[in-house]
């Protein structure tokens, strides 16, 4: 059972402290959402967990092994990462972009091994991209592209997944589709950590919420434990109501407080 664990991570830039957290962990079988306003240090935290940001203090480990001791491909096989910016330089086919998820396994585009091809095809099917597999990515809609990137991450078959705002710029239906794909990844035994701005969706799909503000974690727990009108006020500075219903929490945000 793969576990990502970090203690006392501190990231500084010039004089400013961008990140200062005591501890965070992510286990297989759980979907954890990071919530917080712009500039709260969410992306910095993700990058620090992956060893892609220089840290002033603290450790990040996967199964007890420090992340800085992983080679790029070892790390990729343990945890896949969807950054916030997801540029695609060339109009490759959907199949080829998803195949890049097998890069850390030594795959070469156009000459996939049977095992790589199987992983790519499974990922394509799970993200409902079969009919688009031969299309060039510059002809896709934003929602389709989001599924391509997720399929690429799934194709790696890493036990953990870290995603930075995977629902950004999507319509409500696609936001839910991506959220459900994350949920199914976790149901299949994966562990996912995602930065989300969609509080209502996070409250329905996440097992745990991590609330961040000014580089620190201000609260952590299940949606029922940590999501409240006061919390929305404290973290985002917005007025809202949170009511408990049979289907889960009902979140309304009504304006700037």
């Amino acid at each position: 059972m793969t576990e990502l664990r970090a203690e006392g991570l501190v990231v500084r830039a010039a004089d400013a402290t961008l990140l200062d957290i005591t501890s965070i962990r992510l286990q297989a079988g759980e979907l954890v959402a990071i919530l917080g306003p712009n500039g709260a240090g969410k992306t910095t935290l993700l990058r620090a967990l992956l060893g892609m940001n220089k840290t002033a203090a603290g450790t990040a480990e996967i199964d007890g092994r420090d992340i800085s001791n992983f080679s790029a491909s070892e790390r990729a096989r343990s945890v896949s990462y969807l950054p916030q910016q997801r540029p695609l330089a060339w109009p490759n086919t959907v199949f080829d972009v998803v195949s890049l998820g097998r890069f850390a396994h030594g795959a070469t585009l156009g000459r996939l091994s049977a095992k790589d091809a199987e992983a790519v095809e499974t990922a394509i099917v799970s993200c409902d991209l079969q009919h688009l597999a031969r299309r060039e990515v510059d002809t896709l809609s934003g929602g389709e592209l989001a599924r391509v990137h997720l399929a690429r991450a799934f194709a790696t078959r890493a036990p953990l997944l870290i995603a930075d705002e995977p629902l950004a710029e999507l319509d409500p239906r696609h936001q839910w589709r991506i959220a459900e794909l994350l949920k199914s990844f976790v149901a299949d035994g994966g562990g996912a950590l995602a930065v989300l701005h969609e509080v209502a969706i996070a409250s329905r799909v996440a097992d745990r919420l991590i609330w961040m503000k000014s580089g620190e974690i201000v609260a952590e727990g299940t949606p029922v434990e940590t999501l409240s009108a006061e919390r929305l006020q404290e973290v985002y500075g917005v007025r809202g109501t949170v009511t408990s219903t049979e289907r889960g929490l009902d979140v309304r945000i009504e304006g700037v407080s």
């Binding site: 491909s73 990462y81 950054p83 997801r86 540029p87 890049l100 070469t108 156009g110 095809e121």
Partner: protein, 338 residues
Amino acid sequence: MTRSSAVSNAASGRALLVGLTLAGIVAIIAACSLGTTPLGLGRLLDGLAMRGAQGDQIVVWDIRLPRTLTAYVVGAALGMSGAALQGLLRNPLAEPGVLGVTSSASLFATFALYYGLTVSSPFLLPIFAITGALAATGLLALAAVRISSVVTLILLGVGLSSFSAAAMSLLLNLAPNPFSLSDMINWMLGSVANRSFEDLKLGAPFLFLGMAVLMSHRRGLSALTLGEEAASAAGLDLRRQRIAVVLGAGLATGASVALAGAIGFVGIVSPHIVRRWVNHDPARSLLPSALLAGLFLVVADIGVRLLPTSSELKLGVVAALLGAPVFIWIAARRRVSP
């Protein structure tokens, strides 16, 4: 369905490689037979086999074959360097000539020649040219880490080119050895006239080494499609990839400049044509780009020799006449993006 698409891609890639190789061979044979003294296939084969008229043997072995092979390997090196730099910088406009790599190499090469350094060892010529090319590629790769704007990077290349040209004029004024304007033009515009197998032997090892470095690191170029952050997260060692492409393109371009001077725009045309055949995968574009660019320069050199001009046109002029419009066309068609 998805599997069959992957298979058909591999097949079209193979067909492209076979076709380009055959076309290259045909062009090389044509280049050896065409010229002021046309040689029929029989005389050409006799000449190649060191039989027949002595004049034919000299024309084939001392003039046409070395010249043609030089054009081919120089084209191949520039084509592959262009494709690799485009993959690294994720930009279809990147090319050794446009980025100032060839002019920087030719500046260093002229320096070695006209300050008499090549007297001590002829190997200093390719070494200096390669040093110049490496300085330029290294500078560009360093700058690319900081500058994400491709336009800025191209401007940097323009600056490098202009600087090299100015420094070249300075050399012309200061050089202790007689330095003729036509020599300088040879270096700045590029030519394969009067190349011998001795010249080829000097530059080719470096050129092939550079191409081998690029080929062995081509897989990482596919991953860079995703951008540097995602590519690195997907398992690419970014630092190593950058160093390999800088080194490979520097060696190949530097050696090609030592052989033929600064020939621009070759590295932009062939990757552009090849790309659609290989599903826009930079890794798969390296080899066909090299084969197509080699073919292109051999054909251009046939043109140079056959055109009835009073003095022979420079190969680099023909390459630029054909390549620069393609560059402008690609640049104008690009949607505005960083």
